[in-house]
């Protein structure tokens, strides 16, 4: 059962919401790395009788392969020492790699652990374009998952200049060039204009129409320009937005304003939990946020759930990390990255007895439970910001089992929960099909990955098989089988093979008239030569647009 040409997964209850299959017992046939409609009799079989079959998980927003992650790894030797990760024993003694865990595990360990959870596709959500080469190298060393990353553009010097001079078309060309030059998959905005404000001494931008004084540009203009660019370029994933004012009380106002600013445009708003605080003071803003999301089908969010325990905040949002460092007293990294963006890191501990952590936990659950359309509300913890991806199974349990959720709610600090929908009693329980949507089918669709997240003919043969278990968290933490592009990666709960993943990236076209001005900009201000900037030799072809 190795270099499987063919495999029939027999007798499992299949949850494939993309194809309208909700727990029906049927076979899933695999041939040459793809799902096929049928196989000849006598093809090898895998008995999934009594088990649950889903497509491989798709993580739309994680931090796993970037220079920022690596700075976080380096900052946390104490976590690594506490969690050594010996190499798994692969079949036929194939070489495997050891590593370390903690909130930001080493790359090989990250790949093994994602596969061990049944996730087979992962995106790093924040890569500084100038550091793209580094991310590709880390992804090379992250086995078992197909992966890519989003390029940070919302504070880019050249883009800000183009926006300031009203050059929307040229901005789109520049975004296209940056995606191709870095081998990125999507456009990412973090704190539009706010990082440049941090770097230039203005400290931050707090509302959508506050002007970035160095450029005379507003967050609104940045959002509009890049949302339009993504849509006009026909990118598989729309612009991926981390709003202004992350983590601040009352920030739901700027989040809603950002959503309204892009009304009618496709856009993805990330780790919404961190942007859903009422105010003044701390309270939940989940209800108005979800009312808006539910009634605007062009929008999607991922939740960015906080899970209690240690985490590491890693973000391009430098000003937020400074404030977190000042308020928590924890160690702090800030790296200002030339002409493009920033990077901040602070370790954090979310305690259930801490009022703000408890509120954050509750808000995340509210976003899930108030969602009217699971296709547009994706499961994430903003790994490792809200918690490790290893906590996804526990999160799924909270969504599927209201008894467990209610018990947990009783243990947390209730101080800031007055008026929260969760405290008032949300009885919804996610079904297995809804879980399949928020962990694979939905994110795959939002990412425009037509061959991911489902099990119809033509899909990539990324399949996860779970043994039924009354303990939902245990069931999702320990899949019985995981198949990646037709290779049986996890067998009887053990990681047995660790194939390399594919690189997911795009290379949109642009008008060459962009180049002379851009080259001049490089010559004047960049410390990297224009010709040396692009990443070359990416192993896989770009996704056709």
């Amino acid at each position: 059962m190795k270099g499987l040409q063919q495999l029939r997964i027999v007798g499992g209850a299949v949850h494939d919401p993309t194809n309208g299959i909700d727990g029906e017992v049927r076979d899933v046939c695999i041939e040459n790395g793809r799902v096929v409609a049928a196989l000849p009799d006598g093809a090898p079989t895998l008995d999934a009788g009594g088990m649950i079959v889903m497509a491989g998980g798709v993580d739309i927003h994680s931090h796993l392969a970037s220079s920022s992650c690596n700075h976080a790894r380096r900052l946390l030797p104490e976590e690594h020492a506490a969690e050594p990760a010996p190499a798994p024993l692969l079949e036929d003694g194939a070489p495997a790699r050891s590593g370390t865990g903690g909130t930001v595990p080493s790359t090989f360990t990250t790949g093994y652990r994602y596969a061990g959870l049944g996730y087979t596709t992962v995106f790093d959500a924040a890569v500084a374009p100038i550091m793209a080469r580094h991310s590709h190298a880390e992804l090379e060393d992250t086995p078992c998952v197909d992966g890519g990353f989003f390029a940070l553009m919302g504070n880019d010097e050249y883009l800000l200049r183009l926006i300031a001079s009203g050059e929307r078309g040229r901005s789109r060309d520049y975004a296209a060039w940056l995606l191709g030059a870095t081998g990125a998959y999507a456009i990412k905005i973090v704190n539009p204009g706010g990082i440049e404000a941090w770097k230039s001494g203005q400290r931050n931008l707090n509302s959508l129409d506050e002007t970035l004084t160095t450029h005379g540009v507003t967050p609104r203009a940045i959002l509009e320009t890049l949302a339009d660019a993504a849509n006009q370029l026909g990118l598989p994933h729309p612009v991926h937005i981390h709003c202004n004012n992350l983590g601040m009380p009352g920030n739901v106002a700027v989040t809603l304003a950002s959503m309204r600013a892009l009304a009618g445009r496709r856009a993805h708003f990330t780790h919404a939990q961190f942007h859903a605080y009422g105010g003044p003071g701390w309270s939940s803003g989940a209800v108005p946020l979800m009312e808006y999301v539910n009634s605007h089908p062009e929008l999607s969010i991922d939740v960015g759930q906080v899970m209690f325990g240690p985490a590491a905040t890693i973000t391009a949002d430098g000003p937020v990390e400074y404030l977190l460092h000042k308020s928590s007293g924890r160690k702090w990294v800030n790296i200002d990255i030339e002409l493009e963006t920033g990077c901040g890191i602070v370790p954090i501990l979310y305690r259930d007895k801490a009022a703000v952590s408890a509120l954050q936990w509750a808000i995340g659950l509210e976003l899930f439970l108030l969602s009217a359309d699971p296709w547009r509300v994706v499961l994430s913890t903003d790994h490792p910001n809200g918690g490790s991806f290893l906590s996804y199974p526990a999160l799924i349990q909270l969504l599927m089992d209201r008894t467990v959720r209610g018990e947990r709610l009783k243990q947390i600090n209730p101080k800031l929960l007055a008026g929260s929908a969760l405290a008032d009693g949300l009885t919804r329980e996610y079904t297995l099909n809804e879980i399949a949507i928020i962990t694979r089918a939905g994110p795959a669709r939002l990412l425009g990955l037509q061959q991911k997240g489902h099990l119809g003919p033509g899909a990539d043969a990324d399949v996860t098989v779970y043994s039924r278990d009354p303990d939902i968290a245990r069931m999702f933490a320990t899949p019985r089988y995981v198949i990646k592009a037709g290779t049986l990666v996890v067998e009887e709960g053990q990681l047995r093979r660790a194939p390399a993943g594919r690189r997911l990236h795009v290379r949109p076209g642009y008008d060459d008239a962009l180049l002379p001005g851009l080259q001049k900009h490089f010559q004047a201000y960049s410390t990297v030569a224009f010709d040396n900037y692009p990443v070359r030799g990416i192993r896989d072809e770009p996704i056709p647009l």
Binding site: T100, H134, K199, D531
Partner: protein, 421 residues
């Protein structure tokens, strides 16, 4: 005869990582590099390196050498040391560390004897820093703490700061205020806008006082050098973007290890009143590359021990020290480091394999030596600048054997022996 000119070559002669070098090649030899830089010239030389494979000093086929090297490492009765040098691309460093994992070896790098104090302080406190372009484009106040980059980082002034104009500093040098702090024999640049001089014994006290002054808690009366140091504070807090520059590499004079921690703390604290960054100068070769690869593969930037089958961090007991006390029975040296006499003779006593640029010229007489190309001269790939920006290497010469290729052959040989798990 015609010259070939290769443009925009990346130099790893120091951590500046200038990627604007035009290299002129004539008959396979480098005859010119420009713009001129003494260290860069020395780094490239004429590009000629040996391309031999030697066993006990005698030529042998590379396949044979690799097979024998694999056997030597796998059958080693005691522990194996893998030393990862700096004249390597990150891709080569990556393969070397993969080998160490496979062999349950101990990894050592140049970092342990050079920039370790700064890395350890950074692990305790974090740090506030910026890439070199950010310094060029923003720094309006620069403080050189006991270093004049001109000597060991020749183009730092002209490419990064204070000379060139930047986005926020259109006037270049005239738009920046430069402060020089001389510390004992560690001299800061002449021609600064303000200069103070401290005895080596005074520097840690001065750094503490500067942080105290930042909190408005400086003593009223201070002896002159301390007063001068504390008086620098308004200059720094009045900056739009202040950059403190220090040398993370050792100088001949022993240095107080508290210096870097004090500078990290000061740079972080300055981010209350204004914006500030600490710039740590790093020497040539791909030093930050070795740290970066080690970190993503193990979680630790240096001094990793795989002997228990997983990475452990041993910054206080680095491989080379254990080598001299007989801790290893075999060693794989990747790259061409300059070892001390003690290390050289310890390596000569055990089974040592050298793979890398000029391996056959290694002073420690390896049993097996395989010459490969120098990163950025014959080998392509990635090299990291001192600020950890990954640069593309554009080798002007064609080599006969890349380091990655040779290490790949060794991995294959070890796997054929089916050992160890």
């Amino acid at each position: 005869m015609t010259d070939d000119r290769v443009e925009q070559v990346t130099c790893l002669g120091c951590g500046c990582g200038c990627d604007d070098i035009a290299v002129t090649v004539r008959e396979g030899r480098i005859v010119d590099t420009s713009p001129p830089c003494p260290l860069g010239r020395a780094w490239f030389g004429d590009g000629s390196v040996p391309w031999q494979v030697l066993r006990g000093g005698q030529p042998v086929a590379v396949e044979e050498a690799l097979t024998e090297a694999a056997e030597m490492l796998v059958r080693s009765r005691g522990r194996v040391l893998v030393y990862v040098g700096v004249d390597l691309s990150s891709q080569a460093q990556r393969s070397a560390i993969a080998l160490a994992d496979l062999l349950h070896a101990t990894v050592d790098t140049a970092t342990s004897e050079t920039a370790a104090a700064g890395l350890l302080a950074g692990q305790r406190r974090g740090r506030a820093t910026a890439t070199l372009g950010e310094i060029r484009n923003r720094a309006d106040v620069l403080l050189f703490w006991g270093v004049d980059p001109v000597l060991r980082y020749p183009r730092f002034h002209s490419r990064y700061a204070p000379e060139p104009p930047g986005v926020g500093i259109p006037e270049g040098r005239a738009g920046r205020f430069v402060i020089a702090v001389n510390i004992g024999a560690d001299r800061a640049p002449p021609g600064a806008d303000a200069t103070i001089t401290l005895e080596a014994s005074e520097e840690i006290g001065a750094l503490s006082l500067m942080r105290a002054a930042l909190r408005d808690s400086r003593p009223a009366e201070l002896p002159p050098p301390f007063k001068q140091a504390a008086d620098l504070l308004p200059r720094l807090t009045g900056a739009r973007y202040a950059v403190l520059v220090h040398d993370a590499e050792p100088t001949a004079e022993p240095r107080n290890p508290l210096r870097v921690e004090g500078l990290i703390a000061l740079a972080q604290a300055l981010n209350g009143p204004t914006r500030a960054a600490l710039c740590s100068l790093r020497a040539g070769g791909n030093r930050p590359g070795a740290e970066s690869v080690l970190t993503w593969q193990t979680g630790y930037p240096m001094a990793v021990d795989y002997s228990r089958g997983y990475p452990r961090y041993e910054p206080g007991l680095r491989g080379l020290n254990r080598l001299e006390t007989g801790g290893f029975s075999a060693a794989l040296v990747v790259g061409s480091p300059d070892f001390s006499a003690g290390t050289t003779s310890a390596l000569a006593r055990i089974d040592t394999i050298a793979i890398g640029p000029r391996a056959t010229q290694a002073s420690f007489n390896p049993r097996l030596a395989i010459d490969t190309g120098v990163a950025g001269i014959h080998d392509g790939g990635t090299g990291y600048r001192m600020d950890e920006v990954p640069l593309s290497l554009r080798p002007p010469l064609r080599g006969q054997r890349s380091t990655v290729e040779a290490l790949g052959g060794l991995v294959k040989g070890i796997r054929l022996l089916g050992q160890p798990a």
